[in-house]
């Protein structure tokens, strides 16, 4: 039977199953194959916080969405074209996101009475006509896998475990994905258990062959490679890019990296990643709590290291006092906040942009801190270097605001040329700067207002710093009213004067009357929405903030240029509050806090409404 091949420009697939079904791994492998093939792509893992929620239940559903295309794309996609549902819970949990006409590949073996009951299906949706609006492919994935592995000396249970690889094989056939990498990957992953490796490979190939031979799938699809800028690419998640950015920052600043951290979702992977790279002289210290993590990083910074601490919102709350100490002792420090849904424990695996005001103001006293926010997974690399540049140059703690969406999402990353990375090194102070060979630890650089960084081991510059207010210049304890006023203003002026690049506006025709502004991880969905508007002939300008403190110098001027300014945020209007207060501009907020990124279509609708209201 010859099968039809249809060309598509883009596809969104969602793999969904029980937490124990290996959906994240399946998604990762499909992504690797897609990256290798040369499509542009973007991913969105979505998993429960529980390590093993009760099997077969709605809370236990784990999914992985992948958007790939023959052109450059900006988001993991709004709505899947294909849903792989490994059980009834996965179907039920995801059906609401599925547009009419989409394909559903359902594992019929799991649609048992018991499993159906667990999620409240009275009858199997595969057998009644409740799914008539979708194209359902009922495939007994589990039993086909077991059958394919008959010749292996495996228990039924072990054989069933490979069903995700069978599904991966089927989808790989359906979308013409290369297979070599997955086979190599499985060989490596199970190098110590060659039997398991062989079984998984066999299941994967059986899935592929099933697609080829079954009549259930008459069409397969091709998505041509994307025409991306020339270069060497790899697929990278935000957390990995951030970790690599910190390593690069260490190399480019010629400072040894010291990470003090306490495990917390979704930041732990940065600790894990950095712990693997000790050969760069990186010290990773798993502390007894977040306070000790940042304390140790600050202590290391006093000693001349690039001090870094990584955490999520609850951890930032604990670190506040130490960050204040870094503000007043004016030592470089990088505080990475991979934001997650709050308040309190909130929803640890879900994303949010709700820590902006905490980063900005969440400390006692006037304690200004620069804030940098990456706008895509790969941008976490550059943002980490930028945070380090500011920390080292201005001797200040810097907040780096990533979030769960960036952290776990991934995209192809064009590798930078090492030679093009900025040199962010600064000199330690090694000579006295005061009269008669004295050292004044708070005598500032007249341009940057940074104080000297003289590290222990430097003869003649012995000095004491601390959290008590310091006299300008000498750094001695001072309760003098005028001195305190001066120091408060000077610390504020130092941060306000940080050299951040001007904002750039994307407005192809230059005649848009509506501006959409965003910050951090919403860049992709906003840009995708803007494209939709423009495709439909609408006019809209876009700009995006990577620096939230200080704001780029031209921010106010840009905001005032437009009739309407729209600001979508995954919080209740935190940046809007800052922009309104600072620039007296009537920013229109659009806010959703669902633990999920915005959808492009949703934002396109919001932008269109604002454009319409401007007429």
């Amino acid at each position: 039977m010859t099968k039809q091949v249809q060309q598509l420009d883009r596809v969104i697939i969602r793999f969904a199953g029980d937490s124990g079904d290996g959906m994240q791994l399946t998604g990762d492998r499909f992504t690797a194959g897609t990256a290798e093939f040369g499509n542009d792509l973007s991913t969105l893992p979505n998993f429960p916080a529980e390590i093993r929620a009760p099997a077969g239940t709605l809370p236990g559903v784990s999914s992985f969405q992948l958007h790939f295309a023959d052109h450059d794309i900006l988001t993991p996609g709004d709505a899947p074209n294909v849903l792989v549902a490994m059980n009834p819970a996965a179907l039920k949990a995801n059906l609401g996101d599925l547009p009419r006409g989409a394909d559903i590949i359902a594992n019929t073996d799991e649609f048992t009475k018991r499993n159906l009951q667990k999620v409240g299906y009275a009858t199997s949706p595969l057998e009644d006509d409740s799914l008539s609006e979708w194209r359902v492919h009922a495939v007994p994935l589990t039993s086909l896998t077991v059958k394919a592995l008959e010749d292996f000396d495996l228990s039924k249970k072990d054989a069933e475990r490979s069903k995700n690889m069978f599904a991966l094989g089927l989808l790989s056939w359906l979308y013409h994905r290369p297979t070599e990498h997955t086979i190599k990957f499985l060989e490596q992953k199970f190098a110590k258990k060659p039997d398991i490796a062989k079984a998984n490979i066999a299941a994967f190939q059986a899935g592929w062959n099933f697609g080829e031979t079954t009549e259930g799938f008459s069409v397969s699809y091709e998505v041509k490679p994307a025409r991306l800028a020339p270069g060497v690419y790899r697929n990278i998640s935000g957390n990995q890019a951030l970790a690599y950015g910190l390593i690069a920052a260490s190399v480019q600043s010629k400072l040894p990296l010291f990470l003090g951290s306490y495990p917390i979702t979704p930041a732990s992977d940065i600790l894990h990643e950095l712990s693997k790279h000790k050969r760069f002289g990186i010290r990773t210290f798993q502390a007894e709590d977040e306070i000790a993590g940042v304390g140790a990083a600050l202590g290391a910074a006093f000693g001349g290291a690039l001090g870094v601490t990584t955490t999520s919102g609850p951890g930032v709350a604990l670190k506040a006092e130490t960050v204040g100490l870094a503000v007043t002792t004016e030592l470089p420090l990088i505080v990475v906040d991979v934001q997650r849904a709050g308040p309190s424990t909130g929803m640890p695996t879900k994303t949010e942009q709700t820590d902006l005001l905490m980063a900005m103001y969440g400390r006692n006293g006037e304690s200004p801190v620069p804030i940098v926010a990456p706008m895509s997974p790969s941008d976490c690399f550059d943002a980490a270097i930028e945070a380090a540049r500011i920390a080292v140059k201005y001797r200040t703690p810097v907040m780096l605001l990533s979030d769960g969406y960036l952290a776990n999402g991934s995209e192809p990353w064009r590798l930078p040329e090492i030679a093009d990375l900025p040199d962010i090194s600064q000199e330690f102070t090694t000579a006295p700067n005061g009269e008669e060979g004295t050292f004044l630890p708070f005598k500032r650089d007249t341009e940057t207002l940074a104080r000297p960084w003289a590290i222990p081991g430097t003869p003649g510059l012995e000095h004491r710093i601390g959290g008590i207010e310091k006299a300008d210049g000498t750094g001695n304890i001072s309760y003098d009213p005028a001195n305190h006023d001066l120091m408060v203003r000077t610390r504020a002026a130092k941060i306000a004067g940080i050299d951040v690049p001007d904002l750039e506006v994307d407005d192809p025709d230059g005649d848009a009357r509506v501006l959409v502004i965003g910050w951090g991880s919403t860049y992709g969905p906003i840009a995708a929405a803007v494209r939709r508007i423009r495709k439909g002939g609408g006019k809209v300008a876009q700009t995006h903030l990577r620096h939230l403190n200080p704001l780029p110098a031209n921010t106010g001027e840009i905001l005032k240029r437009y009739d309407k300014v729209l600001l979508p945020e995954i919080n209740l209007g935190q940046l809007a509050l800052l922009l309104r207060a600072r620039y007296l501009v009537d920013v229109i907020s659009y806010n959703r806090v669902r633990g999920l990124p915005f959808k492009a279509e949703e934002l396109a609708g919001v932008i269109q409404d604002v454009i319409n209201s401007d007429q």
Partner: protein, 357 residues
């Protein structure tokens, strides 16, 4: 920045003496070299003065480069200490000095790092950091100034105050059982635990000598008189009339006994203090600070319970265990030896890559 080898991952692996990685000076030092230009601001008569003088006159003995010595403190009267020493110093925030010092000492084995803390600083707000520093065994000398009161906040009871302590915050007497810092430290796997007293400079310095020679974390509890809010808390240990009767001196290898009393093993399995002339010499416990089993040291730490009748002074425990900073440096060295020093370009190219164009 300078590419001096002070950042090298610690080429030498040292399990030897406490400060062997810290550069020595050939300049002769005196007490004066360690005095800063800052006016000391404790209350007149405070025990902190005596400790400061003892430390200042002890430091020259170490012969270290002054610039390689760092004092880190928390918050409290005692934590003002670093300002008065002409070394590097970091007066940090309440309770966090052990954490800050850990980051410094773990990344800079060429420094002699000291932590100055109080009973509130170390045992209330910073209790967690203290116990973890002790078990980790980074090369630190922790001096815990125990005045059994919150001095700086003007006299509330502290986690070492005796039950029933009447203070501003406990007008009817405190209710909670105090910590015994020595018992706590031994329970927290500390490798060096000692107690001394502000008024006995010779003893204080002898303990510091051993503490600095110890590689790893040393905890030295210093009984310190707060003459404003808890005067005479340790008077029995100072009063010539009774002090010899109360003090139980611990010296490694020596029988634990004074003219009037002796420590022996009790029938219950623990230790007890008996009249010296009621036992033969061979029943008197010989102090073994190096005993890997901490149970005897722990039992010694309980001798002052409940009534402060017999107070052991000296080194309870001094055992050799690899220091955290050494182990950390060894891992970096091993990683570099195994796979070569880090190369950024190689790192970035490390995953599955593909080329376009």
């Amino acid at each position: 920045m300078t590419s001096e080898p002070l950042f090298a991952s610690g080429k030498t692996s040292v399990n030897g003496k406490g400060l062997s990685l810290v550069p020595k000076t050939d300049v002769k030092q005196s007490l004066k070299d360690f005095k800063s230009d800052q006016e000391v601001r404790w209350c007149p008569g405070c025990g902190d003065y005596a400790i400061l003088a003892a430390v200042q006159s002890f430091l020259p003995e170490l012969g270290l480069k002054r610039e390689n010595i760092v004092f880190v403190s928390g918050i409290g009267c005692s934590s003002r200490f670093p300002y008065y020493l002409n070394t590097y110093g970091f007066h940090s925030i309440h309770g966090r000095a052990p954490a800050i010092a850990t980051g410094l000492a773990a990344s800079r084995p060429d420094l002699s790092v000291w932590v100055i803390t109080g009973d509130g600083d170390a045992l209330s707000i910073g209790g967690n950091h203290l116990i973890h520093a002790l078990r980790r065994n980074v090369n630190l000398n922790i001096l815990l100034f125990n005045n059994r009161i919150y001095g700086l906040t003007k006299g509330q009871y502290s986690p070492t105050s005796e039950v029933g302590k009447i203070t501003k915050s406990t007008p009817m007497g405190s209710l909670d059982k105090p910590f015994n810092p020595i018992s706590l430290a031994i329970g927290a796997e500390a490798s060096f635990v000692a107690r001394t007293i502000d008024s006995d400079r010779k003893h204080l310095q002898s303990v510091l000598r051993e503490a600095t020679a110890h590689r790893g974390t040393s905890l030295v509890e210093i009984y310190q008189n707060c003459n404003i809010f808890n005067d005479n808390a340790f008077e029995q240990l100072k009063d010539p009339e009774v002090r010899d009767d109360i003090t139980v001196r611990l010296e490694h290898g020596q029988p634990i006994a004074s003219a009037s009393k002796a420590v022996v093993r009790a029938a219950s399995g623990g230790l007890e203090v008996v009249a010296r002339d009621s036992v033969s010499d061979d029943r008197i416990l010989v102090h073994d600070a190096h005993n890997p089993d901490p149970s005897v040291a722990f039992a010694l730490s309980r001798l002052d319970e409940p009534a402060f009748e017999h107070v052991p002074i000296g080194i309870f425990r001094q055992v050799s265990r690899p220091a955290y900073d050494t182990l950390m440096a060894e891992q970096l060295d091993e990683a570099a030896t195994r796979t070569g020093a880090g190369d950024l370009s190689e790192l970035l190219l490390g995953g599955d890559t593909w080329r376009i164009g």
